[in-house]
Amino acid sequence: MDLSDRISKQVLTTKLDEIVKWARKHSLWPMPFGTACCAIELMAVLASRYDLARFGSEAIRFSPRQSDLMIVAGRVCNKMMPVLQRIYLQMPEPKWVIAMGACASSGGVFDTYSVIQGIDNFMPVDVYIPGCPPRPEAIIEAVLMIQEIIAKERQEI
């Protein structure tokens, strides 16, 4: 086998940002910010039947400094919002946010004096998941959508 043959079999040429994006997208480290019912459904996604590990996102980190995907699962109340904002700021760039469920996206059934009517009033959100709580399939879909966003993003390396 001559050299050029071997190279074409063993060496892949690509762009640096492409390969970084590829790696990022398949090794998301989610930080679950679970407050209420949706958090239980999120646990179901991580557990046996739905197994988010199949999509490379099972390395759950409860420390914002070690994660790049925040999943806000559950209603966020006035008293909790500053905490959420602060944790969001503590996450290193690049970072993405999923608002899971009706409450995080819009307040849901809790149209009351104490619940934030959609966390996007106070912080950026990339993907919203409708449902109360969303089905596990929907959560997986949202993670896949985040992967798409990462693939399309322009990033300076």
């Binding site: 019912c37 557990a47 046996s48 039947r49 909790m80 809790f110």
Partner: protein, 404 residues
């Protein structure tokens, strides 16, 4: 030569260290915040701060009618939504002074017991996870998925079920439901045994839980603890036996209780409760009475059957009025309280009706988590920081139920 100076360091003032635990911490199960004062690794004082998940449940109870509110009651203790549904509508039915047919009561019992199992399974999984045992989490969620399938089959939802209605249920059991429940009951005890084999006699598990967070029976009563936390201290009190509702008197089951009132006993009590729940559910399926699930139409608190709405004038009017805001059945004036045994303890709704509208004038909840949480400081003071996680897990505090 300058004189040597000694500086007095205020040592005592430096000794206490403040540790802020939560509100965002994997072991706080949502949104609890505890301020701990530490002396080395010993907790000298623990002050819980609550209200991070206050969502205005009780206010919503005044703005939604007695059937609509069940959707919100669901989301209070979301690990066992059906217990909340049943508790709410039992209170509403008491205010209306109606009793639902036996068949409805039995179906409610099946659902309440399955939902108790699903609650205890989350307890088991997350409690073990907090203490570093990962497999138990995966295994208990595998069992929970089977329960989700059963709930989905009958209610249409996995978690937030909203299944009961005043004077009945949203629907009767679907075909094949009873077989599915029996199938689950047949295989579950063996699966539970597998999980138990991982933990109950595990040296690490015993070290982390035995003799931790002890509370005596007397203290437990004086703190108002209920449910497994009370029974683990040796006080045999269960609303299902003491004040049977929904035909619990028809079933043969035991109330498991512990001796030491520590984290280990609370774990054992919950395990045994799951086995008893299986027994009750099996009995209810096997002895299921026939007949309607809703109270008869003369009471006018249940929607008329669709068939009648299409064919009879009066039923059509009744249906129409029932749905219209400001019309339909009004909650009678008066106040009621109905306690039920939810997986965490006594869950009761206190409703005041004013006789003028479908909404309650006041819809107060007696949440077990809120009352049980009081004992937390008592249980952890003088113990190590790591024990706080074990104690918190063993109380199984649901933040949404705590803060409402």
């Amino acid at each position: 030569m300058a004189e040597k100076q000694t500086i007095e360091l205020p040592v005592a003032a430096f000794r206490a260290m403040l540790l802020n635990f939560g509100p965002q911490h994997p072991a706080t199960h949502g949104t609890l915040r505890i301020k701990m004062e530490l002396d080395g690794e010993i907790i000298t004082k623990a002050t819980p701060y609550i209200g991070f998940l206050h969502s205005g449940f009780e206010k919503l109870g005044e703005h939604l009618d007695f059937n609509q509110y069940v959707t919100v009651a669901d989301r209070m203790n979301y690990m066992s939504a059906l217990n909340n549904d049943i508790a709410w509508h039992l209170a509403v039915e008491k205010l209306f002074a109606v009793e639902v047919p036996k068949r409805c009561q039995y179906i409610r019992v099946i659902l309440a017991e399955l939902s108790r199992i699903s609650d205890h399974l989350v307890f088991l999984g997350t409690h073990a996870l907090d203490l570093g045992a990962f497999t138990a989490f995966l295994w208990s969620f595998r069992e929970r998925e089977k329960l989700y399938d059963i709930f989905e089959m009958i209610t249409g939802g996995r978690m937030t079920t909203s299944f009961t209605r005043a004077g009945g249920l949203w629907a009767d059991m679907p075909k094949g439901f009873d077989d599915k429940v029996l199938e689950f009951c047949a295989q579950f005890p063996a699966r539970l045994q597998e999980i138990e084999d991982l933990l109950t006699r595990n040296r690490i598990w015993i070290d982390r839980t035995k003799g931790i967070g002890v509370i005596s029976g007397e203290e437990a009563v004086s703190y108002g603890l209920t449910g497994p936390c009370l029974r683990a201290s040796g006080v045999v009190w269960d609303v299902r036996k003491a004040e049977p509702y929904s035909s619990y008197e028809d079933f043969d089951f035991e109330i498991p209780y512990g001796e030491n009132g520590d984290v280990y006993d609370r774990y054992l009590v919950r395990l045994e409760e799951m086995r008893q729940s299986v027994r009750i559910a099996e009995q209810a399926v096997r002895n299921m009475p026939s007949g309607p699930v809703d109270v008869d139409q003369s009471k006018k608190i249940r929607l008329p059957p669709k068939q009648k709405v299409y064919t009879e004038m009066e039923s059509l009017i009744h249906h129409f009025e029932f749905i219209m805001p400001g019309k339909g059945p009004k909650l009678p004036a008066g106040e009621v309280y109905v306690p039920t045994e939810s997986p965490n303890g006594e869950l009761g709704y206190y409703i005041v009706g004013d006789g003028k509208s479908k909404n309650a004038y006041r819809a107060r909840t007696r949440p077990p988590s809120f009352v049980n949480y009081q004992a937390f400081s008592k249980m952890v003071e003088g113990r190590l920081v790591a024990d706080a996680v074990a104690v918190l897990g063993s109380l199984n505090i649901i933040a949404a139920e705590l803060d409402r």
